[in-house]
C-alpha cells in the first residue's frame, strides 16, 4: 500500500494533476495491481459440489461458517435456503445451500473500483478488507446474493472457501461439518479428486447459468425453478423486523 501511496503523491506533486485524464493513469496501475497479495498458484483450481440429494437442511454448515469466520449476527456467508414445493396433490421440502460461487468470470471483481476484491490464481475470489472502501458495488454486481457489507469491518464480506484453512490443507468449515456429506470440496484441476470424479459421473447444474459467470460451485439435483430468482411466496418477515429482533438479543 505504501508504495502505491508514494506513487500517488509523486503523481500529484509531479504536477501532472488530475487534468492528466484518467486514461493515462489506469493502464499503468493495471499492470501492477493484479492480486498483489496472492500467494497461490494456478496448479490448483478449488471448487465445490453440493449434492442436494444428501442435504437435509440442518444449517450446520451455516452455523459452522459463522463461528469459523466470526460472521456478524444477521449476516451469512453461507445459508441453506429452504423451500416448500407444493405440487397440488403432493408437497416436498427443497434445500439449497448458497455461498459465493467463486465464478470463473466474477462480475463482482470487474466492478470493484479499487481492485480490493480479486480472483486468486487458485480461483478463490477474496476481498482485501484493508483496501476495500465499502462502496457496495460488488454487492450489487453479484447475481447470487453472496456478498454483504460487514457492519463491523464496514467492508465487503463473503465466503472465501475458508482460505486460511484450505491453505493449511484443511477443508472449509462447512464441508468439514456437513452431516450428510453433501458438500464436496476439492481441486478441479486434479482429475483424480473426488469432485472431478463426481462432476464426470453426474449431471450437474449451476445457479443462474445465463449470467455467464461460469460458477465453480456445482449442484447435483438442482431444480430449474430454484436456479434463478425464486418465483413464489417470500419468507414471512422483513429486514426491519429481523433487525429489531437482533437488537433485542
Amino acid at each position: 500500500m505504501n508504495s502505491d501511496r508514494r506513487e500517488f503523491l509523486k503523481f500529484i506533486v509531479g504536477g501532472a494533476a488530475v487534468a492528466a485524464s484518467a486514461a493515462a493513469v489506469i493502464p499503468k496501475q493495471e499492470a501492477t495491481a493484479a492480486a498483489p497479495n496472492d500467494p497461490s498458484d494456478s496448479t490448483h483450481r478449488w471448487g465445490m459440489l453440493i449434492d442436494l440429494r444428501k442435504c437435509i437442511g440442518c444449517q450446520a454448515c451455516s452455523v459452522a461458517c459463522s463461528m469459523e469466520n466470526d460472521v456478524p449476527l444477521g449476516y451469512h456467508r453461507t445459508i441453506v435456503s429452504t423451500y416448500e414445493l407444493d405440487f397440488g396433490d403432493t408437497a416436498r421440502r427443497a434445500t439449497l445451500p448458497r455461498l459465493c460461487n467463486h465464478c470463473e468470470n466474477p462480475p463482482c471483481v470487474e466492478v470493484c473500483p479499487t481492485q480490493a476484491t480479486y480472483k486468486r490464481h487458485d480461483g478463490i475470489v477474496v476481498v482485501d478488507n484493508e483496501v476495500c472502501i465499502g462502496c457496495g458495488y460488488c454487492v450489487q454486481a453479484c447475481p447470487y446474493d453472496a456478498r454483504f457489507i460487514n457492519p463491523e469491518t464496514h467492508t465487503a464480506d463473503k465466503c472465501n472457501f475458508c482460505v486460511h484453512r484450505t491453505e493449511a490443507g484443511l477443508l472449509p468449515a462447512c464441508v468439514e461439518t456437513c452431516v450428510g456429506g453433501a458438500r464436496i470440496f476439492g481441486d478441479l484441476n486434479d482429475p483424480n479428486s473426488e469432485i472431478s470424479r463426481l462432476l464426470r459421473e453426474h449431471s450437474t447444474q449451476v445457479l443462474k447459468p445465463e449470467m455467464g459467470t461460469d460458477p465453480r460451485v456445482f449442484y447435483i439435483g438442482l431444480s430449474e425453478y430454484l436456479q434463478a430468482k425464486v418465483n413464489g411466496e417470500p419468507v414471512p418477515w422483513t429486514e426491519e423486523e429481523l433487525q429489531k429482533e437482533l437488537a433485542q438479543l
Partner: protein, 398 residues
C-alpha cells in the same frame, strides 16, 4: 408443472445503496444540464440564454461540489475515499467517476474565471482597498475591460466550454453506466440506462434553471423575463417527449420481448408500484408538464407553468429513487419483493439528503452573492446609488 413455492428460510439482502445515491445521481444530472445550458451561449453563441449563462455555470459547479459528498457518505469506509485515486480499475465505472468528478469541476472553474473576468474587472474599478485588490486578482490582474480582453475571455470560455461538453455528458452518463453494467439487476441492466439518465437529467436541469430564472433573473426593467422562461419551457417540453420516447422503447421491449428475469421488473413497476411509477413519475411529472410546456395557452397560466416545472424536478428525483432503490427492492435470489423505507435520522437517513440540499443552497447563495453573474449592470447601478447615498449621508453628517 411448476410447483407453488413457499420460501421458508432465506437471508434477506436489504438496500445497500441508500437514498443519498439517487440524490447524487440527481445532482450530477442537474450539473450536466446546467453546464449544457451555459454552453448554448458560450459555445454555440445563442444570445437568448445569455441572461442565465453565468447562473447556469454557478449551478453546474455548486451542485457538483455538493454531489460527491453523497458518495462518500454512502461508503462503508468513508475515510478511505481518497484511495480511489491510486487504487484504480479500468473495468469499473466507479473508478472512472473519481477522475471525472475531479476534472469536470476544475474545467468549470477555469471556464468561470474567463466568464466572470469582465465582471470582476468592473467591480475592481469601483472598489477600493482590499476588495479592489481581490477583484483585480480575480480579474487576472487587469481591471480594464477592452475589446481585446473581451475577445480573449470569449475565446477561452468558448474553448473551455467546448472541452467541458463531453465531460458534462460523461460525468452524468457514467452514473447511468454504473447501473447499466450490473447484469445481476434486471431493472438496471440495459444499454439505454446512460441515455435515459442523460435525457432525464436534461429534463430536471432545464426545469431547475427555469425555476431559478423565475426566482432570480430580472430584465432591465426589473421584470421576470417570461420570454426566456417560455423558451426554456418549450425546450423542456421537447426534452420530456424525448425522455418518454426512450422510456417507451425501454419498457416495451422489456415488456414484450425480454427474457424471464425482466418479467419481475414488469410486475414490480407496473403492478405493485403502479401509482409511484406510472401515475406520479410518468403521468403527473412528465406527460402533464410536457402538455403545459408545449401548449402556449396553458403555458401562459404562469402559476401552472412554474408548478409544472417544480413537479418535473421532483419527478426526476422520484425516477432516480425508483431506479436505484426500486432496482434493489427486486431480490436477486429471494422470492417476492422487498419494501424499503429509509429512516429519518442517522446514517442512510432522509436527513442526509436534506443536509446535502442545505449545503448546496449555502454554496449557491455564497456564489451568487459574490460572483457578478447578472448580465445587465442593474445590480452595479443599484450599488452605485446606495454607495452614493451613503457618501451623501456621510457628508451630511459631517
Amino acid at each position: 408443472m411448476n410447483p407453488h413455492i413457499i420460501e421458508i428460510i432465506n437471508a434477506i439482502h436489504g438496500i445497500d445503496w441508500s437514498l443519498v445515491i439517487p440524490q447524487y445521481f440527481f445532482f450530477t444530472g442537474i450539473s450536466a444540464a446546467a453546464f449544457l445550458i451555459s454552453a448554448l451561449t458560450y459555445v454555440f453563441g445563442d444570445e437568448n440564454y445569455r441572461p442565465i449563462a453565468k447562473l447556469s455555470l454557478i449551478v453546474a459547479f455548486t451542485v457538483l461540489v455538493a454531489a460527491p459528498l453523497n458518495l462518500i457518505a454512502d461508503l462503508g469506509q468513508q475515510g478511505r475515499f481518497y484511495s480511489l485515486f491510486y487504487h484504480t480499475h479500468a473495468t469499473s465505472p466507479m473508478s472512472w467517476g473519481s477522475f471525472l468528478l475531479t476534472t469536470y469541476p476544475l474545467l468549470i472553474l477555469l471556464e468561470g474565471i474567463f466568464a466572470f473576468r469582465a465582471g470582476f474587472a468592473r467591480k475592481a474599478q469601483k472598489a477600493s482597498g482590499g476588495m479592489k485588490k481581490l477583484y483585480t486578482w480575480l480579474a487576472l490582474g487587469n481591471d480594464q475591460v477592452t475589446a481585446q480582453t473581451e475577445k480573449r475571455d470569449h475565446k477561452w470560455s468558448y474553448l473551455l466550454g467546448a472541452i467541458g461538453i463531453p465531460f458534462a455528458i460523461a460525468v452524468h452518463g457514467y452514473t447511468g453506466y454504473i447501473l447499466g453494467v450490473v447484469r445481476a439487476r434486471p431493472l438496471w441492466h440495459t444499454p439505454l440506462m446512460p441515455i435515459t439518465f442523460l435525457v432525464s437529467a436534461m429534463v430536471s436541469g432545464i426545469a431547475f434553471m427555469l425555476i431559478l430564472t423565475w426566482l432570480m433573473v430580472r430584465d432591465d426593467q426589473g421584470r421576470i423575463p417570461w420570454k426566456l422562461i417560455d423558451r426554456l419551457a418549450v425546450l423542456l417540453g421537447w426534452t420530456i417527449l424525448t425522455d418518454l420516447t426512450i422510456r417507451l422503447f425501454w419498457y416495451s421491449i422489456g415488456f414484450f420481448y425480454s427474457y424471464g428475469s425482466y418479467q419481475d421488473v414488469i410486475q414490480f413497476m407496473f403492478v405493485d408500484h403502479f401509482v409511484d411509477t406510472v401515475i406520479v413519475e410518468m403521468l403527473i411529472a412528465l406527460v402533464i408538464p410536457a402538455i403545459v410546456m408545449l401548449i402556449p395557452a396553458l403555458r401562459r397560466i404562469r402559476p401552472l407553468l412554474i408548478l409544472s416545472a417544480l413537479v418535473t424536478v421532483a419527478g426526476v428525483w422520484l425516477f432516480r429513487w425508483n431506479t436505484v432503490i426500486g432496482g434493489q427492492e427486486i431480490p436477486k435470489t429471494g422470492a417476492g419483493f422487498y419494501h424499503y423505507s429509509p429512516p429519518l435520522w442517522g446514517s442512510k437517513g432522509v436527513m442526509e439528503v436534506v443536509a446535502n440540499w442545505a449545503f448546496w443552497i449555502f454554496l449557491f447563495i455564497l456564489f451568487t452573492w459574490f460572483l457578478p453573474w447578472r448580465s445587465n449592470d442593474e445590480m452595479e447601478i443599484e450599488t452605485d446609488v446606495t454607495e452614493q447615498s451613503a457618501i451623501l449621508a456621510e457628508g451630511g453628517a459631517q
